[in-house]
Subunit: 342 residues, 2 copies
DNA sequence: ATATTTATCTAAATCGTTTACGTATTTTTA
DNA sequence: TAAAAATACGTAAACGATTTAGATAAATAT
C-alpha cells in the first residue's frame, strides 16, 4: 500500500504538505496541491481509514443495531427497507455502515456500547424490539450520537412512524366502509403496539363504536400461527366481527388462511387489513388493505438527522421526527354500508 | 477513553506489559496478567480497533457487497437471508460486518476495491447480479480474500446454490405429477439463470419431454409485472402448458395473478412453481411449490470459508462450495397423471 | 565463584495520519 | 526602506496500540 510517506518522497515535499494538500488546506499553494493530487492518482494512493480515525477520532462509520425477536432484523421486511434507505442516505455523505455485533454467546463479548466505542462509530442507529434491554439503554445513555427508530428516548433523536394517525386512518377507512364490528389482533408489548392500540380505542370512541373486550387479541408480530389461532377464536364468537385488523401484513396472512379455511370469502364475508405495507402484499390477490409505512423516509430522516447531529452537535434540535404512513386501499375491506342498518 | 497508557500507569507497569498481558502472551507472569485484567475491567478499558488495525493490518472487519438491480440487496429476500446467516457466523468469531458503499454518484467516489483497502477489510463477500461489472472484477482480482456467492471465479472461493440439481428436482417432481407440457419463465442473464435453464433443458430431455420454443420466456427476477404478461402469453398459446415455472417466488405471484384473472384455478386448471423458498410463500394459500434455497447454509459456508481463508491462507482449499436446495412441496402443482394418457 | 539460562519486564520503533508550531521567503504597509 | 504581515512549506509530536530487542534479576549449571 502506498502511503503519504511514499507520496511525499515522490513529490519531494514533506508528509505534512501532502496531508494538507490532499485535505485542501489553505497553507499549501495551488501548484503544489495540483501536483500532489496528480501524483496521488498516479501512484494509486488512498488514505488509511484506521490511521485517520486514530488521529482524528472520526471514523466516518456509523453503527447500526437492528435486532428483532429473531436476533437480527435483516430478514424483517420493515427493518430491511428502513435500513436500505438509511444506507443509501449515509453513503451519499461518504459514511460507511457497520452492523453492530449482536452475538451474546461469547463470554468475552462486549456490550453494544463497548463495541461502538471499540469501533469508534461516529454515531449509531438503533431499531429494535426491546428498548428496555439494559445494553440498549446503556448505549442510548452514552455520549455517542444516537438515533432511535420507532421509539422515543428523552434527549435523543427519534424517527417514528405515525402509528396514531396510521391506525386512526385505517379505522376511519374501515368505518367508512360500513364496518362497526371491528376486531384488532395487536402485536406484543412495545411502544409501537401501545400507540396503535390506544389510537384504535380512541378512534373507535370518536366514531361511537363499541369495542367488546373479546374483539381485542394479541399475537406476536409476523407470527402467522398466532394470528391464525386468534382469528379462529374471533370467528367462533357468537357475534363475530365483520373486519379484523392485524399486527402486520405478514401476520395478516395467517389470519387470511384461517378465514379461508372456514370457507369464508374476503372481502365478501369478512374484511381484513394489515399494517406496514409489505411490498408483496400489493402483488397478491386479493391485495391487502394496509397502512403503508414510509420506510424510505424513515430511513432517510434517521440518517440525515444523525449525520447532522454528528457534524453539528450544538446546532441540532433533538426531537422526535414523525413520519406519516399512507393508507393503501387494497381489496380486502369490503363495503357493507348498505347492510349496515340491519 | 481509557487507553493502555492509563492502564499501565494504574498498574505500575509498562505499556508493553499491559499489551502482552491482555493478549495473554507468555513472557508476563500470571500474577501480573491477573492484575492487569482486573484493573482493565475496573477502569472500563477497551481496545481501540483503529490503533490495533493500523499496527497489525488486521481489522477483524469484513466487507460485504450486496448489490441487486435496485442497487442494494438488503430488501431482496434471498440476499437478506444469506446476509443474515453470514453475519451470525462471522460474529461468532468476533468479526464485524461493514456494508461496502455502493454509491456511485459522487465524483470522488472510490471503487469497491479502493473502499475495501481504505477500510482495511480482512476479507470481502460479494453477492451481486452483475459479476461482469469492472469494479467487481477489480475487487475479485485483488489480493484481498474474497468469497463470491452464486457465481464462480477462478481461484476464488465461491458458494453457490445447486441450481442444476434444484431445477432437476423441480422438473422431475412436476413430471412425476403427470405434467408433460412445462413452460419456464426464466430470469435475466446471469450464471444462476444459465444453470437453471440448462438444467431445465437437460432434465426435460432426460425425461423425454419436448420443449416447444414458445414455452420458454424471460422476465426479470422479482418482476411481477413481467411474469404477469408472459403468463398471459403462455395461456394464450394454442396449446398452453399445464405447468409454469417461474424465476422466483416473488415473480411467481405475478403469474398467479394472471392465471386467476383468467378465472383459472391453481392447481386444478393449471400448475405453477416458484424458486427460492420465500418464507412468505409457505404462509399463503395455496402454498407455493418451490425449491427452497438453504440460505442459512449458504451464508454460513461463505462466512466460514472466508474466515478460514483469512486466517489460514495457505491451508485453504480454493473451490466452489455447492449448497443443495430442497423441494418444498406446496399445493400449486396438481397431480394430473390420471389424465396423462389421453 | 563465575557463567549460563530463564523469567519478567521496559524502552523504543512503528503503523499512517493530523496538526500545532517554527522558519524562510515574499509581499504589503507605513 | 524597515517593519509587519502573509504565504508556503517543514519539523516533530501525537493518536493507541503491537512488537522487537535488550535490560535486569533470579535461578541453575559449571
Amino acid at each position: 500500500m502506498v502511503s503519504m510517506k511514499d507520496l511525499a518522497a515522490a513529490c519531494n515535499v514533506s508528509i505534512a504538505t501532502v496531508s494538507k494538500a490532499l485535505n485542501d488546506q489553505r497553507d499549501v499553494s495551488e501548484k503544489t496541491k495540483e501536483m500532489v493530487r496528480k501524483k496521488a492518482k498516479e501512484m494509486g494512493y488512498f488514505p488509511n481509514s484506521a490511521a485517520k480515525a486514530l488521529k482524528t477520532n472520526r471514523s466516518y462509520n456509523i453503527g447500526v443495531l437492528f435486532v428483532d425477536e429473531a436476533q437480527s432484523g435483516l430478514t424483517h421486511d420493515f427493518f430491511a427497507n428502513v435500513l436500505d434507505s438509511f444506507k443509501r442516505t449515509i453513503e451519499r455523505k461518504d459514511y460507511d455502515l457497520t452492523l453492530i455485533n449482536c452475538n451474546k454467546k461469547r463470554s468475552d463479548s462486549m456490550s453494544y456500547l463497548e463495541r461502538a466505542r471499540y469501533r469508534g462509530f461516529d454515531g449509531v442507529a438503533i431499531a429494535c424490539i426491546d428498548f428496555k434491554d439494559p445494553e440498549v439503554i446503556e448505549l442510548v445513555d452514552s455520549n455517542i450520537p444516537v438515533v432511535t427508530i420507532d421509539y422515543i428516548f428523552n434527549n435523543r433523536i427519534a424517527v417514528i412512524s405515525d402509528n396514531i394517525k396510521g391506525m386512526h386512518d385505517l379505522v376511519t377507512y374501515v368505518y367508512g366502509k360500513g364496518h362497526r364490528k371491528i376486531a384488532y389482533i395487536h402485536g406484543r408489548d412495545s411502544s409501537v403496539t401501545q400507540a396503535r392500540v390506544s389510537s384504535f380505542y380512541t378512534t373507535c370512541a370518536q366514531l361511537g363504536i363499541e369495542v367488546p373486550e373479546e374483539y381485542i387479541k394479541e399475537a406476536k408480530y409476523r407470527d402467522t400461527k398466532g394470528t391464525y389461532e386468534k382469528t379462529l377464536e374471533l370467528l367462533d364468537l357468537p357475534d363475530p366481527p365483520t373486519c379484523i385488523l392485524y399486527p402486520d401484513d405478514f401476520a395478516g396472512f395467517g389470519g387470511i388462511n384461517a378465514i379461508r379455511e372456514r370457507g369464508l370469502r374476503i372481502p365478501e364475508d369478512i374484511s381484513v387489513a394489515g399494517y406496514d405495507g409489505l411490498r408483496i402484499g400489493r402483488h397478491l390477490e386479493p391485495r391487502l388493505t394496509t397502512i403503508r409505512q414510509d420506510t424510505e423516509k424513515i430511513g432517510r430522516e434517521a440518517a440525515e438527522n444523525l449525520i447532522h447531529l454528528i457534524e453539528h452537535p450544538r446546532a441540532t434540535i433533538i426531537r422526535p421526527i414523525v413520519v406519516e404512513g399512507e393508507l393503501y386501499e387494497g381489496e380486502t375491506v369490503g363495503d357493507i354500508s348498505r347492510d349496515e342498518d340491519e
